[in-house]
């Protein structure tokens, strides 16, 4: 190599500064491409961590027992629907508490009923729950107390209402200690749930909580929607899962008719979905990088014809094929790396803005996406400058010099 890399850079820099509008145009295209890759993947990663966080708030030691057996096991839509060959009962739930590895068990009943007070009526999701539910779901009470610690099969006319339900039924009046009507029964409000703590599947603020036995009476059923089991540690999860299945099998006359879902299985599925989304969105953004590459090719072609005389001169001064090539490829590389850096800064600033605007979404671009964006930017820059550079190198010096 007769030409120093540093000289190529210096020369390229001079050329860029010499034609600022051209350089800015290419810089813009490159930086938009890189910025969109960075921001979109940041968004995807943010969504992923958001979902992860949601599940973590649910407790990773959590097992969900659903009536009905899905033959393949794992997580599938039918297991969520919960078909019921044999009902889960409060006695089943009670039986699950008899292992040391089980920290908490929460039987659950869900239904919908009219909640009314002084002529205001609202159709609301009713959750039949127990005292332990609060700790198990990491919920927090805003005012008053959660459901009392009583025997599960004991009904009691007390209720905890979500803050939105309170607003709609009580307005500015105090709600604690007041009575309201759920279906055809009267309940006394003992607590109010705020939005503190997050929860998937349940809008904490729009739900009304009553003791599980009361819910069974209200909906006239003896079965449970599902049972949540919290293991004492992550390591004991497989053992607890086996224990649950075995216990319930014994209680159900030897039929394996329940499904146990671990949080991990659900999380993994969401993780996969969001991961695929992130990849595809990042891929779409990478296409804009290719477009930027094509723009670079066009602008470089214009540059070659603009600077024909200069190329002729360089040849007359003894520049060979390789030197002309490296001058133009170097120029494109310099441009695309500047564009990539500018794009990275814009993308990171955009992600920062996203994080400011949506604090729940930790939008940080993953390292692989940043590396890939930079790599693709440089790659397209080099690739798409090859054609113009070759054209420049192949110019006939005599004709090139005679052009002014």
């Amino acid at each position: 190599m007769r030409l120093f890399g540093l000289d190529v850079l210096r020369f390229a820099w001079g050329a860029l500064v010499g034609y600022p509008s051209r350089a800015l145009l290419m810089l813009l295209a490159m930086s938009i491409g890189v910025a969109s890759v960075v921001m979109l993947t940041a968004l995807g990663e943010g969504a992923r961590s958001y979902v992860r966080g949601e599940f973590a708030s649910l407790g990773t030691n959590l097992l969900t027992v659903i009536p009905g057996r899905s033959e393949t096991g794992g997580f599938s839509p039918s297991t969520l629907m919960g078909e019921t060959p044999r009902d889960l009962t409060l006695a089943d739930a009670q039986a699950l508490t008899r292992s040391y590895s089980v920290r908490r068990v929460a039987p659950l009943n869900v239904g919908s009923a009219e909640v009314s007070r002084k002529g205001r009526v609202r159709d609301t999701v009713i959750l039949g729950a127990t005292h332990d539910m609060l700790a198990l779901r990491r919920w927090q009470i805003m005012q008053g107390k959660f459901l009392p610690k009583i025997r599960w099969n004991r009904a009691m006319p007390v209720t905890v209402i979500g803050n939105k339900v309170r607003e709609e039924l009580f307005g500015t009046e105090p709600a604690l200690g007041q009575w309201l009507r759920i279906g055809d029964r009267r309940f006394r409000v003992i607590g109010i749930m705020g939005s503190e703590g997050r929860s998937i599947g349940v809008d904490v603020e729009e739900t009304v909580y009553i003791p599980v036995a009361s819910a069974q009476q209200l909906f006239n059923t003896s079965s449970l929607f599902r049972i949540l089991v919290e293991a004492r540690s992550r390591n004991s999860l497989p053992a607890v899962e086996k224990y649950i299945i075995k216990t319930l099998q014994t209680r159900h006359q030897g039929v394996k008719d329940v499904t146990v879902i671990t949080q991990d299985a659900v999380l993994l599925t969401f993780d996969k979905i969001i991961g695929a989304l992130t990849y595809s969105v990042g891929g779409i953004a990478a296409i804009s990088l290719m477009v930027a590459g094509i723009l670079i090719m066009n602008v470089m072609l214009v540059a070659v014809s603009q600077r024909t005389a200069e190329i002729g001169l360089l040849k007359a001064l003894g520049a060979d094929h390789r030197q002309i090539l490296s001058i133009f490829v170097g120029e494109a590389l310099l441009l695309s790396s500047l564009g990539a850096v500018a794009g990275l800064i814009i993308g990171e600033l955009g992600s920062l803005a996203l994080r400011q605007a949506f604090p729940v979404l930790p939008a940080y671009a993953p390292l692989w996406a940043i590396a890939a964006a930079m790599g693709v930017a440089l790659g397209t820059g080099a690739l798409f400058s090859l054609l113009p550079a070759r054209r420049a190198a192949a110019l006939d010096p005599v004709t090139a010099l005679s052009r002014r």
């Binding site: 007769r2 050329a15 001064l317 060979d320 094929h321």
Partner: protein, 227 residues
């Protein structure tokens, strides 16, 4: 000792379905330190001959021996290296890179030669000084007069200390006074041993050379030589 030997050089161009003989059986020998002018009307082949001597163009047939080496058989890259080392060009329209300072323009051939930065700097300074351009080193071409631009171009052509200096209508874009000034500089370089070849259609200018070639239709029509 001849620095340039041309043996039965032909250069044909295809124009449409016609073959134009731009150079037609040229035989020429130029000694080191010679001062040669090539004259003739436009289309006579004088520029083609200069480009061929400058290795910017290749002969269709014949041999070109430069410094004892047959350069017609060299590859493009080898020719580029030879051009860089042994030939300096001065053009009618100067061909300075507009965005580069005078010093950076002069530095170009040294950069292409892969010379170290320190070595370049001292050579460029010397070349500029020799042409009384030291105070113009950081000026851009558009801040220089025509005569100054051509002097920068001459500094660039001579900074590599080439054996041969080729000038294609070097005064064509200059007023008379700057033109004479530039010719004086070129001739002073020739006095110090460089082989100078000037292409011009200006008879007065051409007659300053010791050897004068008159070209017509691709052939050397007439040659005059002083003492």
């Amino acid at each position: 000792m001849p620095v340039i030997q041309l043996q039965q050089i032909h250069r044909d161009f295809q124009v449409g379905d016609q073959v134009v003989h731009a150079l037609d059986d040229i035989n020429l020998q130029i000694d080191a330190g010679d001062y040669l002018s090539i004259m003739g009307p436009s289309g006579s082949g004088k520029s083609t001959l200069l480009n061929l001597i400058g290795l910017l163009d290749r002969a269709t047939s014949g041999h070109y021996i430069l410094n004892g080496q047959d350069v017609t058989v060299l590859s493009d890259t080898e020719q580029a290296t030879t051009r860089n080392k042994t030939i300096g060009f001065v053009f009618q329209s100067f061909h300075l890179v507009p965005r580069l300072s005078a010093a950076a323009n002069v530095e170009l051939p040294l950069m292409l030669a892969g010379m170290s930065v320190e070595e370049r700097r001292s050579k460029v300074a010397k070349a500029l000084e020799a042409l009384h351009l030291s105070d113009r080193a950081e000026h851009k071409p558009d801040q220089l007069s025509g005569g100054q631009r051509q002097r920068v171009a001459i500094a660039r052509a001579t900074v590599t200390e080439p054996a041969v200096l080729l000038a294609d209508e070097p005064t064509g874009n200059l007023d008379r006074k700057s033109g004479l000034d530039v010719m004086g500089i070129l001739e002073a370089l020739n006095d110090r041993g460089i082989t100078l070849i000037v292409v011009t259609h200006d008879a007065e200018l051409g007659q300053r050379a010791r050897r004068q070639l008159h070209m017509l239709d691709g052939r050397i029509h007439r040659e005059e030589q002083e003492g």
